[in-house]
């Protein structure tokens, strides 16, 4: 089976780098303690059962018997302890969010691991899949420099496929794990992840049958209409239920007049999200209503009961707000000028920026687009704070804790750190709600808190939320059973098979 991964990962050190192009390969090799069903309930994987203590401060996992790593070492609680405490807690980029409360891992016996928490961490049960918190083999890493470990690019895990070969610039080959703990699985002998830098050639490789699967929107949205007419190919939007993401505008509240709430709201009103959806995203996605992706509806955290910006008289409101903020139109019809930093991660962001320039000109805001390469852009926005409006794309993780905390908490104004609170939003009441929701073990109480949080944010409008992103997979009809859960491309293809 040949799948297309775009772009080529720079490393397979899944435990220390969380770029989105690593999991499609790494999750074939590394597994997590649990996996998730379509309703996003945890299901047994490396752990067969678990119990959360009544006070929420520890989670005890019974581990599966008879699991061996690809190097032949048996899987025990020592591996869980080492993975969490020595690797993930220290080096995983999300550890400060997901594992902040983790104080230790007890191993009463070889097949029991107990995660000890300083405070309840209800979000942790959503993040135990191989994609988010993978389990590594202790003996591979012990006594070495974790970040320089040779297994970074020759990963050793417990998953259905073993690492075979990596020809840089071309492909990674994964081989069937004969000793996989699920009897009879996997079905495929090999998975080949190919890297084709050019979007048109990627589409061509699918059309000729050279490749069977391209997930995570590796195919240009513009090509999808053509793909759908090909009888050999099909598309699906399933398998991204646990991969919520929003495209947004970050507004630098240190740069007047963006310090005024009315001005920020006016920008939110001025933009027609349906145009972006139609012309930039080719119809894939939904207009965003607030700071959380609507994918959180499944688990009950999403609400659209917030200040709505997509209303029929939105332009009038925007103009009134700007007039009220003391920003009259000048001789050329413009009220003030701003720079928009164009996202460097692809051509669609330039198209979006071009639309934004048009849309904001209508209400009298004169945007100047600035395109720079990735390193320069990130430095300007997150280190130098030398920007007015920025158009990033924000992953929201598996729980609101992830997307909301790092973007809006006052404590997340951290110079030099990318994709955190760079709009200088600081609201003590909101911080309090978020911190309470983070530690609240009761699901319904959390939902109430997050609803309140979304309403506050939508009112304060520190960011402008544009599109609730929908990824698409394109696949050859001969490939069956490829998307078997909400993690989709980011979980193992253990049941996939190719019709001959």
């Amino acid at each position: 089976m040949v799948m297309i991964v775009q772009p080529e990962p720079s490393t397979l050190a899944h435990y220390a780098v969380t770029a989105g192009n690593i999991p499609p390969i790494a999750t074939q090799i590394y597994e997590g303690l649990v996996t998730y069903d379509w309703d996003q309930n945890p299901q047994p994987n490396l752990a067969t059962s678990w119990e959360i203590a009544p006070d929420g401060k520890s989670i005890s996992f019974k581990l599966r018997e008879g699991v061996v790593f690809h190097n032949g070492k048996p899987f025990t609680s020592a591996d869980v302890q080492f993975s969490f405490m020595e690797i993930l807690k220290k080096y995983h980029p999300f550890a400060p969010l997901l594992l902040a409360e983790l104080t230790g891992v007890d191993t009463p016996d070889e097949k029991t691991a107990v995660l000890l928490l300083a405070n309840p961490a209800p979000y942790l049960m959503k993040a135990l899949a191989g994609r988010d918190l993978p389990i590594m083999c202790k003996s591979v890493f012990e006594g070495t420099q974790i970040l320089q470990n040779p297994s970074a690019n020759k990963p050793i895990g417990t998953g259905p496929f073993k690492f075979g070969q990596w020809d840089r610039g071309q492909f990674v080959r994964l081989d069937r794990n004969e000793k996989y703990w699920k009897p009879g699985l996997p079905y495929l002998d090999h998975i080949i992840a190919r890297f084709i830098p050019d979007a048109a050639t990627r589409s061509a490789a699918l059309e000729t049958g050279e490749a069977h699967f391209a997930g995570y929107s590796a195919v240009n949205y513009a090509d999808l209409a053509r793909m759908k007419t090909n009888p050999m190919l099909d598309t699906t939007m399933k398998g991204y239920e646990m991969t919520p993401a929003l495209s947004v505008l970050e507004l630098n509240a240190k740069h007047p007049p963006l310090d005024k709430k009315e001005v920020r709201q006016a920008i939110a009103y001025a933009i027609d999200r349906k145009v972006i959806l139609r012309d930039v995203m080719y119809g894939y996605g939904k207009p965003a209503t607030g700071p959380l992706s609507s994918l959180f509806k499944t688990v009950g955290f999403y609400t659209d009961d917030v200040r709505k910006y997509d209303v029929p008289d939105r332009l009038d409101i925007a103009n009134k707000l700007l007039d009220g903020a003391g920003l009259p139109r000048g001789a050329n019809g413009m009220r003030f000028g701003m720079h928009l930093e164009v996202n460097s991660f692809g051509e669609q962001w330039l198209r979006q920026a071009e639309y934004l320039k048009q849309a904001l000109a209508i209400v009298g805001i004169d945007l100047t687009l600035r395109s720079e390469d990735t390193a320069t852009w990130l430095r300007r926005v997150y280190t130098d704070y030398d920007y007015d409006i920025n158009e990033p794309f924000l992953s929201q993780g598996v729980d609101p804790v992830y997307g909301l905390n790092k973007q809006y908490l006052t404590s997340q104004i951290r110079k030099g750190v990318t994709f955190v609170n760079d709009s200088f939003y600081a609201n003590p009441e909101f911080d309090g709600i978020l911190n309470e929701a983070m530690r609240e073990p009761d699901h319904d109480k959390r939902a109430v808190l997050y609803k309140k949080a979304q309403q506050i944010l939508a009112e304060d409008c520190p960011l402008v939320w544009l599109i609730d992103v929908q990824y698409v997979s394109v696949f050859n009809r001969k490939l069956r059973d490829h998307t078997t859960g909400p993690l989709g491309t980011q979980q193992a293809f253990e049941r996939a098979w190719l019709e001959t």
Binding site: A19, D167, I196, T201, A375
Partner: protein, 323 residues
């Protein structure tokens, strides 16, 4: 003996040039804003200041520029190209595994272009304003003006999707496990389209250059003299004109050959060819300085060697020149 002394002299004088290039590259690269740690953290979507400090420490970016430079020069003096932290691999192995495919593609395309270009230019010049001159001129004009990536994509549409006779991209069929001649055939099939789309541009260039050069030389006094002596046109062409007409070709080919190791980003991207061009481009994008400097260094060395080779070829073609 004189030749050996000359070569020795040229190689010794090349050393300061290469050292200068290293210094200049190093300084220029450090002028670019942003660093590898921020790009890596950016791709990860989140990071703590501690994580980024750890990265910077690991990459050696927390040291002063002077220290970084000393470390780099001392590594180079030991023929150690360094380590690419972004790719978790040795720079030398990263470059080395791309060197084969890059040379194969570039030499095939360049060799074809120079050889065919010379022949076509000659054919066009000898039949000036005839139908074959017009056809060759027209073709070379079109080839010169066509962007390589467009040609590449059109070939994929025609030969891969339409006719299904050539693979769209890659270096060989992954996982097919071909051996011996089967592998050679497989690589050749993958090579055709990238090589053609790259060669056409150069081909047009050399054909036009050769035509102009031959026409200029045939009008020179020495050609008239030879004709007055009663030599046949064929003999004048092969014995006198050709040698002189080749000199500008060698000059231009020498300049362009220096770019060979850089590969072609456009063609490599369209055809997913694992070349050095895309490696360098990605290294620049991600501020992978060790890797980028090593590629610059290799290019610099190649250019020095090629300049030397061009000078030697001049002497072989034109006895009036001396070393």
């Amino acid at each position: 003996m004189r030749f050996a002394r000359y070569m020795g002299y040229r190689l010794v004088t090349a050393l300061p040039v290469i050292f200068g290039i290293i210094v200049l590259n190093f300084l220029l690269i450090h002028l670019a804003p942003g660093d590898a740690a921020s790009v890596l953290a950016g791709e990860s979507g989140a990071a703590t200041p501690e994580y980024m400090d750890a990265l910077r420490h690991k990459f050696g970016l927390d040291q002063s520029l002077g220290m970084q430079f000393l470390t780099y020069v001392s590594n180079m003096a030991h023929f150690n190209l360094g380590y690419s932290y972004r790719n978790d691999a040795d720079v030398s192995s990263l470059i080395f595994e791309r060197l084969g495919p890059t040379s194969l593609l570039m030499l095939t395309a360049f060799g074809t272009a120079v050889a065919l270009g010379i022949i076509l230019g000659l054919v066009a010049a000898t039949g000036r304003n005839s139908w074959r001159d017009n056809i060759i001129s027209l073709i070379s004009l079109v080839a010169y003006a066509t962007p390589g990536f467009w040609l590449g994509l059109m070939m994929i549409v025609i030969f891969s999707i339409g006719l299904g006779c050539l693979p769209t991209s890659g270096f060989d069929t992954v996982g097919a496990g071909h051996e011996g001649w089967a592998e050679v055939w497989d690589v050749a099939r993958h090579l055709v389209m990238p090589a053609v789309s790259l060669a056409l541009f150069y081909l047009a260039l050399y054909a036009r250059l050769m035509r102009a050069s031959v026409l200029e030389q045939t009008g020179m006094d020495y050609a008239t003299t030879a004709r007055a002596k009663g030599q046949t046109e064929r003999r004048i062409m092969t014995g006198h004109v050709l040698r002189n007409a080749l000199l500008p070709i060698v000059t231009i080919a020498g300049v362009q050959a220096g770019n060979l190791i850089g590969g072609s980003i456009v063609v490599e991207t369209v055809f997913g060819w694992p070349g050095i061009g895309t490696l360098a481009f990605n290294a620049l994008q991600s501020r992978d300085l060790n890797l980028l400097l090593a590629i610059f260094f290799m290019s610099a060395c190649l250019i020095v060697v090629i300049n030397l080779a061009v000078d030697v070829i001049y002497v072989m073609l034109d006895p009036r020149m001396e070393i």
